[in-house]
């Protein structure tokens, strides 16, 4: 059959030539290659002390944002749950009472908001769907692991951010255009990485 990529090699089982059969030239060549690696720059990152920066478009664990006055943004419209391809999100809406204006921005809010982390595929569609800029996948926690399945259904206690943090939003998702621009800034990530391996 004709090769399409032109990279296929015919396997041959020809006898070794004399130089090949004494092994030594090949072994010395190999030794030279390995000794170059011996003195090469090491790529190890000494993890607990030095952490790699997350990519600008890193999608981590969800954060339910608060606004500038510390009020929850989520209005329990359910678009995130609707958009979720893994059906990981569920919520219960409630009406804002008098005197709760400093807690919830909208008149309707999510009394219960749960994401099943065992189902979530971290696709970020909930973030895209949210009309209130309330949910972002910016928590820089790696794939959460727990001893119990029940603990992996994250409720509001784990999801709602403690206080308003404008940086958190900027670093993470944001509108899609903004994120595309971020890929250009990946060069800064690269230089940080080199700084780590030098130290």
């Amino acid at each position: 059959m004709q090769s399409l990529s032109n990279r296929s090699k015919q396997v041959s089982q020809k006898e070794m030539t004399f130089m090949e059969s004494i092994y030594l030239p090949a072994i010395i060549g190999g030794l030279m290659i390995t000794i170059r690696h011996f003195f090469a720059k090491k790529i190890t990152i000494r993890y607990p002390e030095i952490k790699k920066l997350f990519s600008k478009n890193w999608r981590g664990v969800h954060v339910l944002k608060k606004d500038e006055q510390g009020r929850e943004r989520c209005t329990a419209c359910g678009l995130c749950a609707l958009s979720c391809p893994a059906e990981a999100i569920t919520m219960e809406a409630a009406e804002r009472k008098k005197g709760e204006e400093n807690l919830y921005r909208e008149e309707k809010y999510a009394a219960r908001y749960e994401i099943n982390m065992l189902r979530c595929i971290f696709c970020g569609l909930c973030e895209e769907a949210c009309p209130k800029e309330a949910i972002f996948l910016t928590n820089e926690e790696l794939a959460p692991s727990r001893m119990d399945r029940g603990e992996l259904i994250f409720g509001k206690d784990k999801l709602v951010e403690k206080q308003h943090d404008p940086d958190n939003k900027k670093r993470g998702g944001g509108p899609l255009e903004e994120r595309l621009f971020h890929s250009k800034e990946n060069s800064s990530y690269k230089s940080t990485f080199e700084g780590i391996s030098n130290s």
């Binding site: 390995t34 690696h37 190890t44």
Partner: protein
Amino acid sequence: MDIYFILGKLILIVIIFAISLLTAMYSTYGERKIAGFFQDRLGPDRAGPWGILQPLADGGKLFFKEEILPVNANMALFIAGPSLSMLTACMSTAIIPWGTYLDIFGTKFVLQVADVNIGLLYIFGVVSLGVYGVMIGGWASNNKYSLLGAVRAASQNISYELAMGLSVIALIMLNGSLSLAEISRNQGESLFGLSGLNWNIFYQPLGFLIFIVCAFAECNRTPFDLPECETELVGGYHTEYSSMKLGFYLFAEYINMFVSSAFMAVLYFGGYNYPGINFVEANLGHNAAVIIGLAALFAKILFFIFFFMWVRWTVPRFRYDQLMKLGWQILIPLAIFNILLTGVGIMLFDN
């Protein structure tokens, strides 16, 4: 034989024993570190600064592991295996000349435990005992994989011992002595106008090549680590071993590596001699020259240990038929040819 002589020898034995164990201990650390460096990693660096306490952690771990004695194993032999391995590995350091003698307050303190006049034969005797440790351990485990590993080890060691012995015969012809002290002394003469550079490697390059290949095979190191070939034999002869018995097997391998590095340094690379030894002796005194010689010998040994590891992380394992072909069909004829060549050389140049 006065009391000081015995006391001096005892101190020397303890020191050499401690040093060879320490070197073997840190070879395990060095192996992991060097393996890491060859693979663009850092290697262990968590226990202590740069990870220098790693051997202690490893040793402690091995001691506290559960010791499993297989029900159907032959108990006495099962225990004798690693003990014998360890014993033979430690025995051969006795005849390495670490230097001529130290002059301490007018008393000569010879830096060699025993100057056996058949030193080289002693090495071969002890080294060939080493295979019993592996053989007995593998057989006593009552496990097919262990037995296969042990059979491989035995046939490999026997095959390569022949070539090793033949390659050393040429060296004996050249030096006219089996004593390692004598061989070291001969290499202290001058060559190219530099004292202490009359190394055997310049007369026996082919012999050295054969010797080093055989040393790799004798130590069961890659590319000749077929006795413990994980891909085919689980773990080879130490499959059934656990805890410190396994530790002894692994440790014996590193001591063997230290010892064969020492022999390569002594036999071919001048032992304790270094270029300019006479100059140092004339200017700085005898003791200084001897101590620098000791350091030189250690530098050579460490280089060879590094070389062992360097090769290990470069060359893949031989196939068993390739191993046997290399041993019997290439190295042994080559070693005999080397003897012939040396004989002709001695006839032409010495008379």
